[in-house]
Symmetry: C2
Subunit: 236 residues, 2 copies
């Protein structure tokens, strides 16, 4: 691990054992490990990443939380990221071994993206360690391939209109929906009408993991923010 380089480390989804060997080695060598979390309006801080970091026995005095306030106003998040980057850059320039750790894969819809853009602006050397994205843990939990042969996969984050999914599944075999709260009930209706199969995934890899193939769970459950859904045109 070279001092003066920013290491972006993927933690994998939920289960701490799903970090890569390389990622864990680099975290253990780091002088500072930054990680993302959120701060609610009442000031309460939470972080999925922190739980995973703690389970690897990393010393708490090397950990630095970047807590982004929950707000519709994106300038609030922007200034939290900018402030965090200033600290991180100072650590790199002081010759410390600095990592930023993110759940899932750090290139795949990650909160690290904003910091990475600042790092490129500042021409800070960056090294990224890839990881396991949550949707592939969903396939593993079901013990069914996500896709084989010529099958096509669509990844649709923050879908707002469920009909777009129906159009997509005319040419794709599998759709991975991320952040599904707005359209969950509509997707359940469409799935029943078209005979699609569903896999609802909540907190994959964590002790409170919940998975379900029942459309009704999409209608009745209070879905967590990061829940994901694998929709297949045909049954597994």
């Amino acid at each position: 691990m070279k001092p003066g380089t920013l290491y972006g480390i993927s933690l994998g989804p939920g289960d701490p054992g799903l970090i890569t060997v390389k990622g864990l080695e680099l975290l253990r060598q780091a002088d500072r490990v930054y990680y993302a979390g959120s701060r609610a309006t009442d000031g309460a801080e939470s972080s999925y990443s922190r739980r995973m970091l703690d389970s690897h026995g990393l010393a708490a005095d090397r950990l630095r939380g970047v807590f982004v306030p929950m707000s519709e106003d994106r300038t609030v998040a922007e200034s939290a990221y900018r402030e965090a980057f200033a600290g991180l850059l100072a650590d790199c320039q002081a010759g410390r071994r600095v990592a930023f750790a993110c759940e899932g894969d750090i290139s795949f819809y990650s909160t690290f993206s904003r910091l990475l853009a600042f790092a490129h602006e500042a021409t800070l050397p960056v090294e990224i360690v890839a990881g396991v994205p949550a949707f592939l843990l969903g396939a593993a939990v079901q013990a069914h391939p996500l896709a084989t042969g010529p099958e096509r996969i669509a990844v649709l984050p923050r879908l707002r209109v469920a009909d777009e999914l129906a159009r997509c599944l005319e040419t794709f075999d599998v759709a991975v929906l991320i952040k599904i709260r707005g359209v969950a009930a509509q997707v359940a209706d469409l799935a029943e009408r078209h005979g699609w199969s569903l896999l609802l995934c909540e907190h994959l890899g964590a002790p409170n993991q919940f998975v379900s193939t029942r459309p009704d769970d999409l209608r009745t459950r209070a879905l967590p923010y990061l829940s994901l859904l694998i929709v297949r045109r045909t049954s597994p």
Copy 2:
């Protein structure tokens, strides 16, 4: 690791350090580790997975190659898989700790899929350990997010008609093309016409890794079978 269960272990792409901590622990506990490879018409056997397994220091007498003959006739491959599964099932039934290891993620276009189907038919208990798919290592090598925010990703294996990619990029932001030999030159032409950015990836994570953003490399290189391409509608 429970004897009598088949463990499907993802090795990650090329770089042996990109296996998960959990996957490596299970491989070390296994009595038998099956892995896939191919047999050329001259009888020569090759296996990406074997190189990774050897680098983890697993004893060679525990490794069992499943070498599938290269043939247009899929019944040849089918009978090779069926024979391998018979051996694997016998090992499980004899109470051995049995794993099957595959490069990349084992649920993502993996040669394991056929064996997994046999395992389900035989009601053999299966446990899958997710891994890092190659396309996310491509994003890591470029130190650019594969996707952020509401961006949509399409995964298109074995594309035969490059115009389908143009249609796809009307509604998707990023396309991941796997097994691109047939359409590589056409994609280069389209990319230049539409101003898309390209990332050609060969042997990611391996010592002979090659990546390029130049359309001409798609026209002039002899692309390996498993080469992949990340196409973005806009520049990173």
